[in-house]
């Protein structure tokens, strides 16, 4: 079989166009993100319903030792969550803020992972493949938000009320928030969003201009954690 120069160039051009079209069409039809309405979140004192729901849904152990506990979503002080943005007269000062994995646009944890155990899905979720994790903890060093926890010990004895629908993790792997990808696949919102009594957590698709989260972000002032790092966090804080 022979192919003329002209035919070859034509075929190459068409192939390139097809690849480009697929990229444009396939890109960013979904970008999951979360917004935290700080004022609503603070309405109930010492509310930990989202944390408890997450803990229950994902078999997160309750390890009492400092530095050994596993955190997917937790409360941190405003000063820790937004360093450099506190001032003595801020209404947010000293207030706790709900923090979780930001599911970054440019996740540094993904870049440093030597085994590609952590990876960014096409829908924007930064996911973990525990099968591949070798426990090197590079990702923990890379994450500027402290969103990753290492299993220093077998977590099973510390799981109070195990959820049989979700696997546990094992000693020696790093774990993090998955934005409830297993619930999203079933058409349900993340467990923390569902559990919030004040509806302070708003979940949605940033690529859809009519989604609840886009409308909220368009209407209200908001901020992200450490935007200067260029990670492009997918968790927004309504102020």
């Amino acid at each position: 079989m022979t192919i003329s120069r002209k035919e070859f160039l034509r075929a190459t051009g068409i192939s390139l166009l097809a690849v480009a079209a697929r990229k444009v069409k396939g890109a960013a039809t979904t970008r999951w993100a979360l917004a935290v309405d700080s004022a609503k979140c603070l309405k109930q004192d010492n509310c930990t319903k989202c944390i408890d729901a997450c803990r229950q849904a994902h078999n997160i152990p309750s390890i009492p030792q400092q530095g050994r506990d596993i955190r997917w979503i937790w409360k941190d002080s405003f000063e820790h969550a937004f360093p450099g943005q506190e001032d003595p007269y801020s209404t947010q000062g000293g207030m706790p803020a709900m923090v979780l994995c930001n599911h970054c646009e440019n996740p540094p944890c993904v870049r440093v992972c030597p085994t590609q155990a952590t990876f960014k899905r096409e829908d924007g979720i930064v996911a973990m493949d525990y099968h591949r994790c070798i426990g090197c903890r590079y990702c923990m060093a890379a994450c500027p938000y402290g969103s990753r926890s290492f299993n220093w010990m077998d977590p099973r004895p510390y799981i109070k009320n195990p959820n049989p629908e979700f696997p546990t993790r094992t000693k020696g792997v790093v774990e993090k928030c998955t934005l409830c990808s297993e619930r999203l696949a079933a058409g349900k919102p993340p467990a923390c969003v569902e559990a919030c009594p004040e509806k302070a957590l708003v979940f949605g698709n940033l690529s859809d201009p009519h989604s609840a989260i886009r409308e909220l972000l368009a209407a209200r002032r908001h901020m992200r954690r450490r935007p200067e790092l260029g990670t492009g966090p997918g968790v927004f804080y309504i102020v």
């Binding site: 603070l42 004192d45 010492n46 930990t48 944390i51 309750s62 390890i63 009492p64 400092q66 506990d69 955190r71 937790w74 409360k75 941190d76 002080s77 000062g93 000293g94 207030m95 706790p96 990876f119 899905r121 096409e122 829908d123 996911a127 493949d129 525990y130 099968h131 077998d154 099973r156 004895p157 510390y158 799981i159 109070k160 195990p162 049989p164 696997p167 546990t168 993790r169 094992t170 000693k171 990808s181 297993e182 696949a185």
Partner: protein, 145 residues
Amino acid sequence: MRDRGVIYTALVLFLGLLTFPVWHNLSAHVTAKGPDVKLPGAEKKCVAPVEYMRTSHMNLLIAWRDQVVREGEPMSGKSLTPTCLEKCHGSKADFCDRCHNYAAVTPSCWNCHEDRKAGPGSERAGMSAGAAGTSARATIARSGR
């Protein structure tokens, strides 16, 4: 023929040594029989032919893992505990373990995936070891104001 005693003794010793594997196995009750796995009662057909599953089930599970975890396919029908164990094989102890023990392999699947019927944590240490209160960081009081 004065060496007859020595020769016969040596011969008996030699034959004894030669047949050592046979009588050692007999005394240790080792049989040529394979592992006695408990087959699923209701389901008669596996997801792949028996011969393939016997030799290559691990490859199938790894392919499922990659499809579900990395390629984002739905988990239904491609998961270790709900599909393999609960739909058909019933119990890890009666199926997986019997063959794995026979072959002296210890796959790490069950460090994370669970045999729900045997109860969580059954694979490893008991549940009562260290269940404790909520994490200290989970309750940062609104003390700053």
